[in-house]
Symmetry: C2
Subunit: 342 residues, 2 copies
């Protein structure tokens, strides 16, 4: 790749300072008209292209926004990003996206990559629950680049967040299974160090207790968000002396895996066994045996996160806003748990 | 947001030129040690942070790669990006992603955004088939930033591409439907100005002609890649005097919509009607009535595109490589078209 022509090259050729070149290119009135013309002519002859970024380095604005998500191949995150773009694009912002693949090291790299790309703000869903990346987060804040968390957040002073009420989502889904007549409800929980999964679990537990049912830790299986994890969980649960008759899963993918395993064993859904998931991924609706799931309004979440950013970027550095927006989830009842209507 | 401290600010404070500040910060041996120390001390006191990007502006390298796709909420593109990352990350590159939403104007903005973010290369699947963005593409090439197309490409001199043999994919899928006994096969084609969709259509047509079947334009319905488009196409096709008994769709989403509409009308699949799609989206496998589809090896496509980039970035500007890689598709036969085994 060739070296890029910089203002230093132009300055050298004309035997003037880089600052003079810069001022001439930016139409600074302190520069003599003859000098300005000479600089412009020379810059053109050297194929110098003043880019937005070089200007951003001076003005502190690039009009680019960075978004960091654990993965893009989930309808949930793709929809949040769509919401962010729908809100920011009309305001003149371009969105650039990085994914962490749930790896804290990648998250760290992404944070520095976006800062180096001179973004005006970072909207992200965290993958790292340890304090490993705290320095990277504080580096962002120190540069007065607004940071907004969505869905998966961390407690960092001065950082706003847009989340959903995961407790309520877990509660609603579990309560629905109870109402359908399920008497022993298992839970496929995600990584409990992430607040979203912890809160879904707590909602599940509270719904059991509020409705006179026993909570038993052995019916809680910590599972990844994958088909395989759902299948393995069913294998464990059906091995118990008292097997459950329902699953509330924190993940639609694990719920689908569970359903596949149950059908493999000729267990009738929803008659003998009910299943509910979380996230309302499109496939839950596509299936012939459609899957009950909790919707997280991802489009709205993205728009809200973008609006929180816009409020912050317009303020001067003397005003710090920390805003916590919590959206309400919605339960979509489908065939996988509809005993009363099927 | 606060103004960022630049070398100009340091230069002003010390009454020296920005070029001297820059040289001091970059340990240029021409700078006196005492000056270097003064600059470093002043820079530190002003909270100046020399960033990778400012260095990139000088050195021409950022180690960031830009990827542009029509949409991220498709398993196909998400998987290509995963392949790109798996190949580039071990080589020290960070990947930043932009989506066009199939809008040429967005594609144009994305190209300039990534150039401004000083990416070392752009890997992309084009959304724009007109010549509208030719200037933006040439701007990328003029800057000696390697450009590689994947899946959806355009003919631009000096630009490499990694695609699949879409003609063969269309041919295989159609031939399979003929082998299953289908006698009147309709085609849901995508936007025919895009080569991928044109070639899938040509493969379909050739398979018909090679097997003694009539090609009739009215059985080709140009459809978007959506459930609704698939439903609407079925509505049109079933209104014909001679209705088709099979559909080969260029899109899995349209294939799913077609299946939903056929079931709505109590048409038995695959007994009375066979359906095949394209892209091998995960849901095609998840469905109880799993959908036959053409796999495009997206992971391999992403890795290959990354390798083509790596070959180019290592060359000096005097060597231009234009490489065309064509992958072979694979047909996954499933329930939606398996008459002989069901």
């Amino acid at each position: 790749m060739s070296e890029k022509i910089t203002i230093y090259d132009i300055a050298k050729k004309l035997n003037i300072t880089a600052a003079t070149v810069s001022r001439a290119l930016n139409n600074n009135p302190k520069i003599k008209e003859s000098t300005r013309e000479l600089v412009l002519k020379t810059a053109a002859s050297m194929n110098y292209k003043q880019n937005k970024l070089a200007l951003a380095l001076k003005s502190g604005r690039s009009n680019n926004i960075g978004v960091i998500v654990p993965r893009i191949d989930s309808n949930f995150f793709a929809s949040v990003i769509r919401g962010i773009e729908e809100e920011l694009h009309p305001n003149g912002y371009q969105v650039i996206i990085c994914q962490t693949h749930e790896d804290p090291k990648r998250e760290n790299e992404n944070l520095y990559t976006l800062i180096d790309a001179q973004v005006d703000g970072i909207l992200m869903s965290v993958s790292d629950v340890s304090n490993e990346n705290d320095e990277a987060f504080h580096n962002v804040l120190k540069k007065n680049v607004p940071l907004v968390f969505f869905d998966r957040s961390k407690h960092i002073e001065g950082v706003s967040s847009v989340t959903i009420n995961d407790f309520k989502g877990g509660y609603m889904a579990t309560k629905h299974l109870i109402d359908e007549g399920c008497r022993c409800i298992a839970h496929l929980s995600g990584d409990q160090s992430l607040e979203i999964f912890k809160n879904r679990f707590l909602g599940y537990k509270q719904a059991l207790l509020d409705n006179g049912m026993t909570f038993n830790e052995k019916y809680v299986i910590q599972s990844k968000s994958s088909l395989e994890a759902g299948k393995e969980a069913v294998e464990i649960l059906l091995g118990y002396d008292i097997a459950p008759d329902a699953i509330f899963s924190s993940s639609d993918f694990a719920a689908l895996g569970a359903i596949q395993e149950l059908r493999e064993r000729n267990i009738s859904i929803p008659k003998e066994f009910c299943v509910g998931g979380f996230s309302n991924e499109p496939f839950t609706k596509f299936m012939e045996l459609s899957i009950t799931s909790v919707d997280q309004s991802p489009l709205e979440m993205g728009k809200m996160a973008a609006r929180v950013f816009l409020e912050q970027v317009d303020k001067t550095q003397t005003i710090k806003i920390e805003k916590k927006v919590v959206l309400t989830p919605e339960l979509h009842i489908r065939k996988s748990s509809s005993r009363t209507t099927s």
